[in-house]
């Protein structure tokens, strides 16, 4: 190799190629990760804006900010955007895309072209859906329950369904890519039980994506055909069963919850070990519980249907499995806590995010037990209790983990350090704002406040006002990182290859890494999270 070529190989992936087509036609997993980051951030703030208007409306019991239909469209936009265009692709397609090949010591993902195609599918599908929803309005909620969605809701339902259907393929392609990469492209010596938990989590997530997403596609095909061709599959007038739609829908959408939370668990395991300077407590247990959650996650979808009119005994069975799926999650929570034991804890911003995750996830998880308990679910189903529960898992859990991970790997991705003090402020604002927003929702849920209500009895106003105030604080917690992270791109300190002295293959290469990730092929000789060795060097 000539010297010039060698220099070019050691240059960072960011240093050359700043024409538009160098980004839009890239196959470099690190650049695709950036494309995804930009897209999901845009979608996130769009969905957040809808949430803000919803919270504004709910400050008073009357419907005075927007009309009833506009309100329904707002929560539909919020749900559709946040679920399909933010939560599902968030960690896997940004951090996962960037880190998975680095963590297994590969040059790229197994199918780099599929990777960029998946971004196009995602973005085009997303923009199409948003355009449809905004121009003509969809008011079915993100769940598209029949027969409301097939016969009663008018306007752009088919367009929205098509968009979601298309975006499903991006999940599938990403899933295939990750699974094959994890199986076939690990560095020599990197056995399964030496993999970082982040890789385990993304691998499990990919399994869910691959096995569940097609069922959503099938369901949406049936729904689209029912609406467009007038065939009846779920139509009660033809002897069809609207509850069947719920079965098929939740067969995807419940495991989809694990698509959202598993990568977050992976991220937090990395963060806590690094800032405790010791290996994770019960590594094998952690890896196995990830797989257990994946498998059991497929057996519990019926717990969304306890009052829907499904069989009593089906409800009983789904409740039982739901209790079982909570076990590995509980193990993980205890193991994270136990990881702190005898560590050397550093309370950086990243660690604050990680510990917030553990606390919020515990609350979200335990209220999940409330919902798994059949009789309790009958009372709190479709109330704000449920809303609070899944926001604790998805926002308190998933978004907190995502932001923590983004901070942790920011130096690796950009080669710049962010201002630590502002990061701490943002992490605390997130934690406080989040609890203020969503804890009152538990209370009003049990008190009997149904969800998706634009107007409500005056008694609940005090709690709604608290919740809306919290949403304001939460917004600050989201906007601050946007500002200082962008700031750091230009003015941040340059980052060394391993600013946190963290374990993991991704820290062995430059920040930011060269085009093919490593200049030398990597081999692995020991277990992950070997912080003793790093600290005693």
């Amino acid at each position: 190799m000539s010297e010039a070529a060698a220099n070019q190989a050691s240059e960072s992936y960011l240093s050359r190629g700043w024409r538009l087509r160098d980004w839009l036609f890239t196959t470099d997993h690190k650049r695709v990760a950036w494309l995804y980051t930009v897209s999901i951030t845009a979608f996130f703030f769009l969905g957040g804006l809808a949430a803000l208007v919803i919270r504004l409306e709910l400050i008073t019991p009357e419907g005075d900010v927007v009309s009833a239909d506009a309100y329904n469209q707002l929560f539909t936009i919020h749900g559709v955007v946040m679920v399909w265009f933010f939560l599902i692709p968030s960690i896997p397609n940004t951090l996962g895309n960037f880190l998975l090949p680095l963590m297994v010591g590969a040059k790229d993902l197994a199918f780099p072209k599929l990777n960029i195609i998946s971004w196009y599918i995602y973005t085009i599908g997303g923009v199409f859906t948003i355009a449809a929803v905004i121009t003509s309005g969809v008011d079915t909620g993100w769940t598209f329950y029949t027969p409301y969605s097939t016969q009663y809701a008018d306007r752009a339902v088919v367009a929205a369904l098509t968009g979601v259907f298309v975006v499903g393929f991006s999940s599938i392609l990403t899933g295939i890519n990750f699974i094959v990469t994890t199986h076939k492209m690990r560095a020599p010596g990197l056995t399964w039980f030496r993999l970082p938990l982040f890789v385990w989590a993304n691998y499990a997530t990919s399994l869910v994506m691959v096995l569940a997403t097609p069922v959503l596609s099938a369901t949406l095909i049936l729904l689209i055909l029912e609406r467009m061709l007038g065939i009846g599959i779920f139509d009660p007038a033809l002897g069809g069963d609207p509850i069947l739609f719920q079965h098929l829908f939740w067969f995807y959408s419940h495991p989809a919850v694990y698509i959202m939370i598993l990568p977050g668990m992976g991220v937090v395991s990395e963060l806590i070990t690094c800032f405790s300077r010791k290996t994770v407590f019960g590594y094998h247990g952690m890896a196995i519980s990830i797989l257990a959650i994946t498998v059991f996650g497929f057996l519990v979808w019926g717990h969304h249907m306890f009052v829907s009119g499904q069989s009593l005994y089906a409800g009983l069975m789904f409740s039982f499995f739901t209790f079982l799926v909570a076990l590995p999650s509980a193990i993980k929570t205890f193991n994270w806590t136990a990881t702190l034991y005898k560590g050397k804890l550093i309370f950086s911003a990243v660690m604050i995010y990680a510990l917030s995750f553990v606390g919020l996830f515990t609350i979200g998880g335990f209220t999940g037990i409330f919902l798994a308990s059949l009789a309790v679910d009958v009372h709190v189903h479709d109330t704000y209790f449920v809303v609070a529960h899944f926001h604790y898992i998805m926002v308190g859990g998933m978004v907190t983990a995502y932001l923590g991970g983004l901070h942790f790997w920011w130096p690796k991705m950009t080669g710049r350090m962010y201002p630590e003090i502002w990061a701490k402020v943002a992490a605390l604002a997130l934690f406080i704002g989040f609890n203020l927003t969503f804890f009152p929702q538990y209370l009003m849920g049990y008190a009997g406040m149904p969800r998706r209500y634009q107007t409500y009895p005056e008694d609940f106003q005090i709690l709604h006002v608290m919740s809306s105030l919290g949403a304001g604080v939460l917004a600050i917690g989201y906007l601050l990182p946007l500002v200082y992270l962008l700031w750091s791109l230009r003015w941040g300190k340059r980052a060394p290859p391993n600013p946190w002295r963290a374990a993991g293959l991704e820290w062995r290469t430059d920040s930011p890494p060269p085009k093919h990730n490593f200049l030398e092929p990597q081999t692995v000789t020991g277990p992950p999270y070997d912080y003793d060795t790093i600290d005693n060097k």
Binding site: P242, L327, K342, I369, P450, P457
Partner: protein
């Protein structure tokens, strides 16, 4: 809340109740389970948060004094995990059994004293009592009786939700489901639609009125006397010339009124309004207020011409009209003519 739904709102005690009123035995039992769950999660949460705080203080990086030797071995870790697993499993199975028992009880009720039909419809509840009495958005029931509800829907999925009874059933078109309750406290309770059902989901409200047995009998009698009220109303209806326009014959100048009560009426303004008592009354006294779509605003106001009693009688008559009643009547008349 919105004025339109005001007549259906129950009179409940003002102020926020984090635990809703317990109006059935089941409500009390469920709250016990709820408190147990809250207690258990509070303990676990305090443990997790407490440990994080304790470890965070004790093993902070700056604290050189902390003992960090003798890290737990893999074997110990496994033991701890299995212990946690076993403890959780036992606790979870306990909660599972408890919650499931309550759930099954809440479905397989005792022998009911009466069965009331509940039909959900965008965006109202139609109620039908065993004796044929009909109500909208309100259910009057006697206290201490087992009431079985038979619920279904005419259009989309709704959900029948009475927080004070801790009762919720989805109301699914094409299927009939049952639910039961036995109210122990007289009073008025909120009824919500809990499953999202379209534009005015949040206004699909109502009330359950639990009455002492005596009051309930009196209420029933009042409703029952509707028959005679209605026949008086019919005479008034014809005497005041209403039937000339409203009889629902071809090229009528006014909308037909049979089956009107409880229906949604499309208005000229594009709105849709529920034809309840207030609407019928308004239409007699202020015909220009709500103009039915497709008709000219030609009806004169009857304000001042009819006494309150007369209005009530006419309203009761219109309420009593079932869909198709007038068609049958006109067929009879035709038969008479041809004879």
């Amino acid at each position: 809340m919105n004025d339109e739904v005001a007549p259906y709102l129950p009179e409940v005690e003002k102020g926020l109740h984090l635990i809703p009123t317990q109006a059935t035995e089941h409500a009390g039992q469920l709250d016990h389970l709820y408190f147990a769950l809250v207690g258990a999660s509070a303990i676990i949460l305090l443990m997790v948060v407490g440990l994080i705080a304790f470890f965070g203080f004790r093993y902070r990086a700056g604290n050189k004094a902390a003992d960090r030797s003798n890290l737990p071995s893999t074997r110990t870790e496994n033991r701890v995990e299995i212990a946690v697993l076993a403890a959780m499993l036992v606790a979870f199975m306990g909660f599972f059994a408890w919650a499931t028992t309550l759930y099954l009880d809440s479905y397989r009720g005792p022998e009911p004293a009466m069965t009331i039909d509940v039909i959900g419809k965008q965006w109202m509840w139609k109620i039908q009592h065993p004796d044929g009495t009909r109500e909208i958005n309100a259910i009057h029931v006697p206290v201490d009786e087992v009431i079985r509800l038979r619920v279904t829907s005419q259009d989309v999925i709704h959900s029948f939700f009475v927080p004070a009874f801790r009762l919720k059933r989805d109301v699914v078109p094409g299927t009939e489901k049952t639910a039961w309750f036995k109210a122990t406290e007289p009073g008025e309770y909120r009824l919500f639609c809990a499953e999202y059902c379209g534009s005015f989901h949040s206004r699909m409200l109502g009330k359950v009125v639990v009455m002492d047995r005596g009051d309930y009998q009196a209420w029933l009698t009042r409703q029952g006397s509707g028959q005679t009220l209605a026949s008086a109303g019919k005479q008034l209806f014809q005497a005041h010339g209403c039937s000339g326009c409203h009889m629902g014959k071809s090229n009528a100048r006014a909308p037909s009124l049979d089956g009107l009560y409880g229906r949604s009426v499309a208005l000229d303004s594009g709105e849709v309004i529920l034809a309840d008592e207030a609407y019928i009354r308004d239409s007699i006294l202020q015909p220009d207020k709500h103009i039915a779509a497709g008709y000219e605003p030609i009806m004169p106001s009857f304000a001042g011409q009819l006494s309150e009693e007369d209005i009530l009688r006419i309203v009761t008559y219109i309420k009593s009209l079932q869909p198709g009643d007038w068609v049958k009547e006109s067929v009879k008349e035709n038969e008479g003519e041809s004879r």
